[in-house]
């Protein structure tokens, strides 16, 4: 199915499609907390298109990077040379992120549920897991403190879009409220996948399907989702990447194909 969609969109790869869609969603946003990979591509493309004033803040402490090459990690030396500021982790996590200066945080996950809670710790039981995953990193803090969170999931399967998480590493605001603590941010507002876009407005809302990629049906997305997926009254079809977007992405953002594979 993924190959079918690629054919429909022309010679557009999955990475390109997700990057372009994520970039468009950044319209009007200013400070973005991004890991390396697709979020970096999305933020860079947004900078060249819909959000010229965007600033990417990296978990490593870099603000206002002007890299000579596309960075290979969130701490790549090319992010530091020529940057506007480098902060300690205490300042980055304390004053910038928890201080409320991030508009959008990008996160990924092994599993997500209908409320936008995330699992990046284990598949199976935590004490003796079948798969030990990397864990939170800064994801718990991004979710707790960014105004909103975008999740990019390459694979859209019932296992990854789970009725119940094996473990909740990174809770959204609904779980925070149930824990007796008022959340500061909205939690996940967009999930961008190979099949389409899910959206959520805030506390109390479930993720719902708002858009599909060309050639993808609502039923396909329902079948690929592990819970009974809500669907918006009007499901739009994602506009395929334009020639201009693809040219910028391929020629200016990632000419060496570090991520665009």
């Amino acid at each position: 199915m993924s190959e079918e969609r690629t054919r429909v969109a022309g010679a557009v790869t999955s990475s390109e499609l997700l990057s372009v869609v994520a970039a468009r969603e950044l319209v009007g946003r200013r400070t973005v907390f991004a890991g390396i990979g697709l979020p970096t591509l999305a933020a860079e493309l947004a900078h060249l298109t819909v959000a010229p004033e965007i600033e990417v803040v990296y978990e490593s402490g870099v603000c206002g990077a002007h890299p000579s090459h596309l960075p290979e990690t969130i701490a790549d030396a090319v992010l530091i040379t020529g940057a506007e500021a480098v902060l300690t982790m205490a300042a980055l996590f304390g004053s910038v992120l928890q201080g409320g200066h991030i508009d959008v945080g990008f996160l990924g996950a092994a599993q997500i549920d209908r409320w936008g809670n995330l699992n990046t710790s284990v598949i199976g039981e935590w004490e003796r897991p079948s798969v030990r995953l990397p864990g939170s990193g800064g994801a718990v803090e991004v979710m707790a403190n960014a105004r909103e969170v975008f999740v990019v999931m390459r694979r859209h399967t019932p296992r990854s879009f789970a009725e119940e998480l094996d473990f909740c590493t990174t809770p959204g605001p609904d779980r925070a409220l149930a824990d007796g603590i008022r959340p500061l941010g909205t939690g996940v507002t967009r999930v961008i996948t190979e099949l389409g876009i899910l959206a959520r407005d805030g506390v109390g809302d479930e993720l719902r399907l708002v858009a599909v990629h060309p050639g993808v049906t609502v039923e396909q997305v329902r079948a690929a989702t592990g819970w009974e997926l809500k669907v918006a009254d009007t499901v739009t079809t994602v506009e395929p990447p334009t020639g201009a977007e693809l040219r910028l992405l391929r020629d200016d953002v990632d000419p060496d194909r570090v991520y665009l594979r």
Binding site: R30, E53, C63, G82, A85, V96, G100
Partner: protein, 318 residues
């Protein structure tokens, strides 16, 4: 949650007059920080010129600029951890206000230095409180209900419950700091004593950085570790050379110790203090006029020689 403001866009560079007019309103809580070094005096003077009233001033070391703002009638409440003219003597107006409610009372919140540091840290980090190992047995909590206690959820080494004092966050409406240089986006570089300036900026709703020099982007980007405050935390950049006088700017001009010594006598006499304000603040259109009135001969006396930092190599990918 604080309001989302456009802190990355251009258009932040403005005059001190514009910055004070835009960001300081009657009744606001205003932080002016700089620990002996880089005191934002020129900002205080412009607040006086524009006649702001009913301000709460937050400043760790309330010194000459606070005494002047008190004398000008701008301030009804002070939050501080030291009220004195450095080691040079007293603040006359402050003492009259507190000791005699003359000409009017001054509400005073008294902390210690680290208590103030922790209030800024809590404010910057959006914490409900910040713990510190101060105040056990002090009379300060009895006169300052802001200082409270929390019981640690971790038992002490001897198994007993452990208590610790905490202070609440401070979130000024606006913070002013002075710095050696910034770029037009507000990336601010400071060397020498850096004090509590970064936290005071992050704690505030709005932040104004007053600089000796506006520099090209390339200057800042050549040394990103020197940036104490990134652009996203700054709302306005004001270029105001010598704006920290009578304090000093490391590498730019030295401290005017003679003025510190003179202030005790000036401020002791309310008439003389008001004459000083007439002549040096109300009587000058802006800080450039104040600087000019002092004269080049005066500034030559505060000039410093060169002591360069050396360079480090950030490296570039080949």
């Amino acid at each position: 949650m604080r309001s989302s403001v456009d802190r990355t866009a251009a258009g932040k560079v403005m005059s001190m007059r514009e910055a004070v007019a835009s960001f300081v309103h009657d009744g606001d809580t205003v932080s002016l920080e700089g620990f002996t070094h880089l005191i934002p005096t020129a900002a205080g003077h412009e607040i006086i010129r524009q006649g702001r009233r009913d301000l709460t001033v937050v400043r760790m070391t309330a010194d000459i600029v606070v005494d002047q703002m008190l004398a000008a009638g701008c301030v009804t409440r002070l939050v501080s951890s030291f009220v004195g003219n450095s080691s040079a003597g007293s603040l006359g107006e402050l003492r009259r206000r507190i000791e005699h409610a003359d000409p009017e009372p001054l509400a005073y919140e008294e902390y210690s230095h680290y208590g103030m540091v922790c209030r800024y840290l809590a404010g910057a980090q959006r914490l409900p409180f910040y713990p510190l190992r101060s105040y056990a047995g002090s009379d300060l909590p009895s006169v300052n209900p802001g200082i409270r206690k929390v019981t640690s959820p971790y038992p002490a080494a001897d198994g007993t419950a452990e208590q610790i004092h905490v202070v609440p966050p401070v979130n000024p409406d606006v913070t002013f700091i002075h710095a050696q240089r910034a770029d037009h986006r507000g990336n601010t570089q400071i060397w020498g004593l850096t004090g509590i300036q970064a936290e005071a900026v992050y704690a505030a709703e709005k932040a104004v950085v007053v600089v000796e020099e506006l520099v090209a982007d390339e200057v800042v980007r050549a040394d990103p570790n020197r940036t104490l405050v990134p652009a996203h935390a700054v709302d306005a950049v004001v270029v105001c050379p010598r704006g920290a006088h009578p304090s000093f700017a490391q590498g730019y001009y030295d401290r005017d110790n003679a003025f510190y010594r003179a202030w005790s006598a000036i401020s002791k006499d309310p008439v003389r203090l008001r004459e000083w304000l007439e002549e040096w603040v109300y009587g000058t259109a802006d800080h450039a006029a104040y600087v000019a009135k002092l004269g080049e001969g005066f500034w030559a006396g505060l000039a410093v020689g060169e002591a360069l930092s050396g360079q480090v190599d950030y490296g570039r990918r080949l």
